[in-house]
Amino acid sequence: MLIFDADAWIICPIVFPLAASIFFFLSRRTGPVAAPVAALATGVSIIILLRQLLLFGPRHYYIGGWQAPLGITLRFDGPAVLMLAMTGLTGIGITLYARGYFSFRIAAPKRVGRHERQERFFWPLWMMLWAAMNGLFLSSDIFNLYVTMELVSIAAVALAALSGKPASQIAAIRYLLVSFLGSLSYLLGVVFLYKTYGILDLDMLQDIAGAAPGTRVALALITIGLLLKTALFPMHFWLPPAHANALAPVSAILSGLVVKGSFYLLFRFWFEVFSGAISIGALNMLGILGAGAILWGALQAMRQQRLKLLVAYSTVSQLGYLFIAFPLASLEGNMKVWGAVIFMAMAHACAKSAMFMAAGTIYLHIGHDRINELVGIRAYLPVTALAYAIAGVNLMGLPPSGGFIAKWLLLSASFNSMQWWWGVVVMVGSLLASVYVYRVVCQLFIIPEGYTIKKQYPRSHLLEWPAFTLALISLLLGLFAPYPLHILTIGSSNVATIIPGGPP
């Protein structure tokens, strides 16, 4: 009677980190040793899912064997698996980096006990967050999405407050209140949907959702909730302090992954489930906010004096590109825009986590992150400095990075659909990005005359190489562009079935 269904692999990316989280809570010493194993297992299960997708196409998995209106359905299709792959890749990198980070700090303690506490709770919290992120990408039930989002945000808040600094705790409680508000707004939208249609499954909603009065209100409420969590421009106020004051691996998680979760949902809601209920005006509104985010975030990033704040503001700016895609998707074929969005998200996840890791390594070695005093880092952290520079190339959108492909797709979509102004915003944003990237990179690579290395720390490979590898992946993503774009076409239902040529 022992059967193991091949379809059941779909729950593994959720169950592995979940089990790991409980295990790390129970046995406090195993975290550093077993976390890379758990991360690898999750990565392997995602690769198997990817292979299944290529072989069999998109699938649905009915949890508990109950079909759609009654039970909860998991589904994996192109976009979901690509987001899983993004999380897996970045997650493995962050796990390795966190190991190096904590062992470095425990080896050179300022206050005994503090780092042990942080490491002890980091592992279960991070694994829980990872499980919830995977659940969010796979779930196809609007109420289940609410629960996974809450799991993500509670874990994210606890992680953000983990450093124990007063600034990080103030930022964390603000983050908690904002994301609680966002969740409630989303839940109210769910209530309206359930009142109108009496079902919770996304695919079924997609079939029957029309322009009923309840639908628009629900979509508006859900959108506001998700925008708050994604930190789009006027609602971004909580993001920079929360991301900049956390521990370095936590900043990488929050900035690289967590904001992508709610954005992914938003995109699916707008272009799959409720594509019948949206209006051009609303799309342009989101595009304008995105343009505001690009410009404002970049300008703020240029003004910052601290490296981590600069990187955090650049997240605000980069998130704006994702929203530029909204008005473009309505006129141009969806394919290009889906491709641009997924590319942007993947490349940004790798590059931004690499940047935060590099910033954290620099902070650990010289004890501050004031940009104007960063000269000469290259002399003793060459790999980290290079990782920062490569990640910066991706943010600027120079070829062959993933960011370049994304921006190219956005640009061509905007000119093809005669909405050239969005293309102008993209170009101006890239120009501003190069300003704030060069500002730091110049400092890192200058070695003034007579410069001597003050203090030698033991080299930690785990601190340097994960960041470098992730940055390199984000750089080389552009060379392999057709492959993810091909995966994208497999799943999503309303994506045109044109298989794109190579990178332009």
Binding site: M1, W66, Q169, G198
Partner: protein, 247 residues
């Protein structure tokens, strides 16, 4: 702090921003209310679906069937949310509250000694009743948590000495049992959370009992608001003397 407001606070000037927020919200609420009024009021939900499959769920109460069987995955994640709350709270701070809140009157002590065992019984009854009437793990767990809070504020002498390891295991019991049952189903009947029909009733009660215990402990632990002293004791022998903050 707020009770002793000086006179000048009472005569507050009205902030124009507050007025703006008020009218904006009033407008939005009116719009939402109008939408509710024009929406069809009696849409069929999922009650017919639930009724059709209830006999396959292993329990007689529809709410419990939805909670643990039809939408059991939601509940699994929800148990994880509670677990996560304890994790988050413990990661933030050590417990400062050890149960002592001034003098405990002998009446209170006697009452709690009488009440607590009774509350345990009620909790167990609620869990058992959940399979056919209203009740279940969360109701039982809430009563257990209430008993825990009562015992905490009564300063029972043995409470601060609860060792950390059994406490951790108790907190994780619900998540562990739920997750292992779900995975066991995967191996036994080929699907995640697909309970075998003949064992469904037993498995659901098992999950409910384990979750109720963990929920009760979780609520009491959240009330304490920090990790207990036994937790992390070996690793940080010096933190105790360094005051509250570990900034």
């Amino acid at each position: 702090m707020l009770t002793t407001a000086p006179a000048k606070y009472r005569r507050k000037r009205i902030d124009p921003l507050v007025v703006l927020v008020f009218f904006l919200l009033a407008g939005v609420t009116a719009m939402l209310g109008r939408t509710i009024c024009i929406m069809p009021q009696q849409m069929p939900g999922l009650e017919n679906e639930v009724a059709r499959h209830l006999h396959n769920s292993g329990v007689a109460s529809p709410v419990t069937a939805v909670l643990l069987n039809f939408r059991g995955y939601d509940t699994l994640l929800e148990v994880m949310v509670l677990f996560l709350a304890v994790l988050g709270v413990w990661s933030l701070t050590r417990a400062t509250f050890v149960g002592y809140m001034g003098d405990v009157s002998p009446v209170q002590l006697a009452m709690v000694r009488l009440l607590a065992p009774f509350m345990f019984l009620v909790a167990a009854y609620l869990v058992w009743q959940g399979s056919h009437l209203a009740g279940g793990a969360f109701q039982g767990g809430a009563v257990l948590g209430g008993a825990g809070v009562l015992m905490l504020i009564t300063d029972l002498p043995w409470l601060p000495m609860v060792p950390a390891r059994p406490l951790r295991c108790g907190l994780a019991l619900g998540p562990v049992v739920f997750l292992s049952v779900a995975l066991g189903c995967l191996i036994w009947s080929g699907g995640f959370l697909v309970y075998p029909l003949q064992a469904a009733a037993f498995l659901l009660v098992l999950i409910e009992a384990a979750c109720a215990l963990s929920i009760g402990l979780t609520l009491a632990a959240l009330f304490v608001g920090g990790r207990p002293y036994g937790e992390l004791m070996e690793e940080q022998p010096y933190e105790g003397g360094s005051g509250q903050g570990d900034e």
